[in-house]
Each structure stands twice: as structure tokens, then as C-alpha cells.
Amino acid sequence: MTDAAELRRRTQEFLAAHPPASTARTDFLRARFDAGLAWVHFPEGLGGLGLPRTLQPVVDAELAAAGAPDNDPRRIGIGLGMAAPTILQYGTEEQKRRFLRPLWTGEEVWCQLFSEPGAGSDLAALGTRAVRDGDTWVVDGQKVWTSSAHLARWAILIARTDPDVPKHRGITYFLCDMTDPGVEVRPLRQITGEAEFNEVFLTGVRIPDDRRLGEVGDGWRVAQTTLNNERVAIGGRRLPREGGMIGPAARTWRERPELRTHDLHQRLLTLWVEAEVARLTGERLGQQLAAGHPGPEGAGMKLAFARLNQEISGLEVELRGAEGLLYDDWTMRRPELVDFTGRDAGYRYLRSKGNSIEGGTSEVLLNIVAERVLGLPAEPRTDKDVAWKDLAR
């Protein structure tokens, strides 16, 4: 089977055998996975057909036209975008068969136990310890900024298995059962009042050795697959004009003439232009990817959007005048989905402060651009040949 027509035919046959109207959602999604129509670029038997990733829209369009349920990808983004590609690349056959199907159907939600209070930008310095005890590992430590931890059945976890070697070499990657009695999840309240994220405390958590992903001590390399897929997910979005944070600000300007001032007008127009140019840059990046020539531009898109989101939402708070002094709701809530353009300007202003921190701070991203794109000298490394246990902390 090589082309889109054949794939379309196969999808139509699947739909005939499993009519969405009369098939329960979970049954439908399981059957779709088993038919290889979940993610066609995955191997046969693991939800795919070994086809190019670019053919997936053929399946999605047929299913959408038939009114088929989807797997609510935004709810399980960490599983789909980060855990799955890593399990596919480094997992044993048994791990792939056990985990990928319920991950894709959403029956099992995944979270990521990477960042720690003492290991943010310097993730490789992480201190959560995993100590071998026969056929199991005993894990102790604390993770932070974990989204979906309170919903998750499983976690991808990196922990230190050898403190006596330099930091990058003593890390191992695990699949952690979030129902283990040693796992405690606490909401992490943030400046917006709500708690999108969690702190996760790991106390004597026991992980069988067959839930280790990759070799002992090779966890940093395994984690690169996870993190590279995170950056793919963040960059290269294609938006319509006024599709981002500038949209609500422009609408407010149009609908509320009494709020307009000359100073705000100049600043709004300047930001409107920058937002439009950032949109065009994302569009150009998308065209490069579609043409098979990905450029280095992706490295900069997150930088640009973080600054724009912050400046635009800050302007909108001012634009609202007296209303800018109010806030919609400080109640501690647990949102399942985050909509950066949802809620009021005040919320957007506060939430977008995280855009230059989460998924790589803007300062680290500027280093990455300078070193990998422009080829400037790397930062001096004083930690390269020092055992993790001897690092300054």
C-alpha cells in the first residue's frame, strides 16, 4: 500500500465495519488503533502502517467527515507528543505493546517527571535518586511543574542512578506508575490563582527494572528524544491574521472606542505589525517544512511569541483602563486545558509571563540560537568532568 487513495479506501472500510454512530467511543478508538489508523507513521501492530507521517491527514479527514470521535489530543498531549515517540524509539517490544495503545486512546494519561526545584535550565543536574534493589529501583526525590500529574496513570521519569560520574552520564529513564503509594501529587498554585501544574513527591517509589527505558546511565540521551519532540510541538504553528494574542486586543480596540488614546494607538499598531510579521515567519517556516527544507528559523519562533504575548497582553490591561484594575477570578482551580487567549486580559498578562520560562527559558534559547545557528563559541563549561555529587549546589 503506497498512496493516499489506498489509505482512504482502507479508512472507509474501517468506518463501514465500525460505524461511529453505533460504536462506543473507547471501542472505536481501540479498533482504530488496531487497524493501524491511529498514527500511520508508527509500525504495523503499534497503531500504524509504517507510512509517511504526511499521509495522516488523509485518515483524519475521512474520519472527521464521518463524525468519528477523536482521542482528544489536547488532553493527552504529553503522552502523544513526548512519551510515545520515546517509547517507540527506546522501548522493548513488551513495553511498546503494553503502553502505546492505551496511551493513544487516552485510557491512560501520561505526565512528565523531568524538572526539579534544583534543576530547571540545568536539567541534567537533577537530583532525584533511583537506587537498585534486586529487580526493582527505589526512587526518592521531588519533581515540579508537572502538568496532568493529578490525572496521569503513568509518567516518564528521569532520575540519577550514578552520582559518582559527571551529570549527563549518571541518569536513567523510567516509566513510573503514578498509582504507586510513594507518589504524592500536590497542586502547584501559580500567579494566575489557579493550578495548571503540580509538584510530585517521590518517596520510596518502587519501579520494576522492566519499566526502565533504555540502558542504565543512558537516560540523558533518551530524554533528548522527548525534548526534541517537545520543541517540534511548540514551533511552526500556522495561524490566520490576528490568530494569536493580538486578536483579543484588536477586538477590544474596535469595540470600545471610549478606551482609545494616542499613546495606546501607537503601541497597538507597533505590536500589531510585529504580530503579523511573526505570523508570516511561522507561515514561512511551515512552507519550508512542507517543502522538505526545514530552516533554523524554528529555534526562534518560541522566543518571538513569548515576548509578543507578554507585551500585547500587558498593553491590553492598560487599554482597559479602570477595568484593567480588576481581575476575573483568583479562585484556585484545576483547569484541564489551558487557553492562552481565553479569560480576561489580566489572566493573559499573568499567564503569558510563563511563556518565556516553560519549555526552555528565552535566555537559554538565545544561547542555543547563538551557538547552533550562528556558530558562536559555547558557554564555558565548568561541570563537564566533575562528578554529579561534587557539583556546586
Binding site: R241, A250, W253, R254, P257, R260, T261, H262, H265, Q266, L268, L269, T270, W272, V273, E274, E276, V277, A278, L280, T281, E283, R284, Q287, Q288, A291, E297, G300, L303, A304, E363, L366, N367, V369, A370, E371, V373, L374, G375, L376, P377, A378, E379, P380
Partner: protein, 360 residues
């Protein structure tokens, strides 16, 4: 807005870029450009001849029936990117784009054919700082002859043909030999201004001035962004190269994080400018969304190109303040470009109307 703009470069456009860059590498070196700025001939006639008679580039926007290449603003933009990278002292933007667009609006086939060859240079006698749609100064038409003084006219000293708006609403073709062209001491030494004085000069009425000037300045503004991209691209590339090589405190200066971040920021802005400039060139070639695309490109490009040149100067340290190092040519061109065909502020003001974000 219907179809998405094509923001990439085609293989043919990349081949054109390579050919222009080769020529400029061989015939437009920075030391030569600096020396020429103080000579009697600020424009490089030999280079112009190679670009036009040799490569046919003056006729890119001219239909084949008038002896042009029948190409589009996309290819023209690629040429301007390269000319910007070299701050080449040739009247390409003024003659092959702005004057040519005015003649296209008037359907002046014979004059288009002359400009397309490059053997004659045409200049629109409207002050360089005016934005598309701005009021421009006409000369008096009296007894069938033209009288008056127009100032701030870019590349007029290189012109054979002047396109002059008159107070009857017409656009007139005037031979440069029938006018007095007085060079002005200009901020941008590579695109010098002049005053044009007409004292009973004969002219040939080509058509209505207002639409022709508007069209010409819009194309000039849109494609100026490509030149500004070229300026920014050169200043970034050259500054990165220099800071990898330059050592202070026993280290390459480019290894200091404060400077790396500034260079990364320059790169980011240049990447954005490329998308804006490509979008403007594509919009001019398709006629879709042109006014917004041009205004966005100019509102964005001017401060980016100026900042890139200013950063390049600062990061070159004392070397950047010398007459000998070419970075000042880029700073002067970038600053002059920030006024040419309307400031960023003028283009933002235009956008206020175009995208319904009205002033208070």
C-alpha cells in the same frame, strides 16, 4: 485575503541571487565603494552596465513586448537583497523599480524600453521621504514648459530621464539635459540626493501623476524592504564573523553571553524581516493584499535594519567608528532607508485605516 502568499525562494530566484552576488563580489568591494563616495562619480557606471546590459536586470518589471524580462517583483526583490548586502551605488531601486512603475502606470512603452536596457536611467522627481499616497510637490506648467524646483530627489545625478509631476495633474518626461541637477550633501553617500531645477524645460505628458506616483512609491516602499533585509543580513553576518575572530580578555569576544544574546536577537529580527519582505514582494507580484503587505513590511523593516547597523557598529568597537571600515555605509543607508518612501510611523498610520484600528 485568499490564497496564502508564497514566502519561499524558487530555484530560479536562488540562481539569480547567486549570479548577482558573484558579480557584486567581484566588482563591488567595500573599499571601492568607500573611495567612490568622495569621487566625482558617486554612482558606479561600470557596475550598472554589468547589471543591466550584462544581466538584463533593469528590465525585470518591464513586459517582454517593451524589451524587458517580464519577470515579477519577487525576482526584483532578490536583486535588491543582494544590492543591499553590498550597499551598491547604483540607481536600481529608483530607476528599475520606482520610475519603471510610474511608466508602467502611464503605459509609456518607448520610455519603458529605454529604461529596460539600462542604457538610460530614469528617476521619479518626487522627494525620497514621501510615503505612498502622501502629497507631493508639482512644478508649474506655463506656456507648455515646466518651471520650478524639486528637492530631495534620489539618484537624480545619475538620471537621463526625469519624471516630473506638474500642477496640471500630469506626469511629464523631461530629459535631464533640459534640467539643472544640483547634488546635495547627503546622509547616504551611496544613494545621493539632488535638487532638480526646471526653467522652462520642455516635457512630454505621459498621464496622470497621482496614480502613477502612488503606484511607484508603493512598489518602492515594498521592495525597499528587500534592500533593508540585505543590509541587515550583511551586518549580522559580518558582525558574527568578526566577533568569532576578535579576541579580548584571552577569549573570542563572540563567546561573551551579553554579546551572543544581542547577535541572536539580531538574527531573530532578520528572520522575521525576511518573511515580511518576501510577503511584500509576493503581494506586489500577485496584486493581493498589497497595501497591507507593503505597509507591514515597511513598518517592520526600517527599525530592524537601523538597529542591525547600529548593533554592528557598536559590536565592532573602535573599528566601527572608522571611515575605513564599511559598517558606516550600512548605517547611513539603513538610516536613510528608514525615511525613504515613508517612515515606519507613516506606514503604521496607513495600517490604522487598512486593518480597522482607527486613531482615537
Amino acid at each position: 485575503m485568499s490564497a496564502q502568499p508564497d514566502l519561499l525562494y524558487s530555484e530560479e530566484e536562488e540562481a539569480l541571487r547567486a549570479a548577482v552576488r558573484d558579480l557584486l563580489t567581484d566588482h563591488c568591494d567595500p573599499a571601492g565603494v568607500i573611495a567612490r563616495t568622495e569621487s566625482d562619480a558617486p554612482h558606479d557606471r561600470a557596475l550598472w552596465k554589468s547589471l543591466t546590459e550584462g544581466m538584463g536586470l533593469a528590465g525585470l518589471l518591464v513586459p517582454e513586448e517593451y524589451g524587458g524580462q517580464g519577470a515579477t517583483h519577487r525576482e526584483t526583490a532578490v536583486v535588491l537583497e543582494e544590492l543591499g548586502r553590498s550597499v551598491a551605488p547604483v540607481p536600481y531601486l529608483t530607476s528599475a523599480v520606482v520610475a519603471t512603475e510610474a511608466l508602467l502606470d502611464c503605459a509609456a512603452g518607448d520610455l519603458l524600453a529605454e529604461l529596460a536596457t539600462g542604457r538610460r536611467v530614469g528617476v521619479l522627481a518626487v522627494a525620497l521621504h514621501l510615503a505612498p499616497g502622501a502629497a507631493f510637490t508639482p512644478v508649474r506648467l506655463e506656456g507648455g514648459a515646466l518651471h520650478g524646483e524639486l528637492t530631495g530627489i534620489a539618484d537624480a545625478a545619475a538620471a537621463d530621464l526625469l519624471l516630473v509631476p506638474a500642477d496640471d495633474g500630469g506626469l511629464y518626461a523631461v530629459r535631464a539635459g533640459d534640467a539643472t541637477v544640483t547634488p546635495l550633501t547627503s546622509l547616504d553617500l551611496t544613494r545621493p540626493l539632488a535638487t532638480v531645477t526646471l526653467a522652462g524645460a520642455p516635457g512630454r505628458r505621459l498621464g496622470d501623476a497621482e496614480p502613477a506616483v502612488r503606484r511607484a512609491l508603493r512598489a518602492g516602499a515594498g521592495l525597499l524592504a528587500a534592500e533593508q533585509l540585505g543590509l541587515a543580513d550583511w551586518t549580522l553576518t559580518e558582525t558574527v564573523r568578526y566577533l568569532k575572530d576578535r579576541k579580548q580578555f584571552n577569549r573570542p569576544v563572540g563567546g561573551f553571553q551579553a554579546l551572543k544574546h544581542r547577535l541572536a536577537q539580531m538574527w531573530l529580527e532578520t528572520v522575521h524581516l525576511r518573511a515580511a519582505a518576501r510577503n511584500a514582494a509576493d503581494a506586489l507580484s500577485t496584486g493581493q493584499d498589497t497595501e497591507v503587505a507593503v505597509a507591514v513590511a515597511q513598518a517592520y523593516a526600517a527599525p530592524v535594519a537601523v538597529r542591525a547597523a547600529e548593533e554592528a557598529l557598536q559590536l565592532h568597537g573602535g573599528l566601527g567608528m572608522t571611515w575605513e571600515h564599511p559598517v558606516h555605509l550600512y548605517l547611513k543607508r539603513a538610516k536613510a532607508d528608514s525615511l525613504a518612501y515613508g517612515t515606519a510611523g507613516a506606514h503604521r498610520a496607513a495600517l490604522a485605516g487598512l486593518v480597522e484600528l482607527p486613531a482615537p
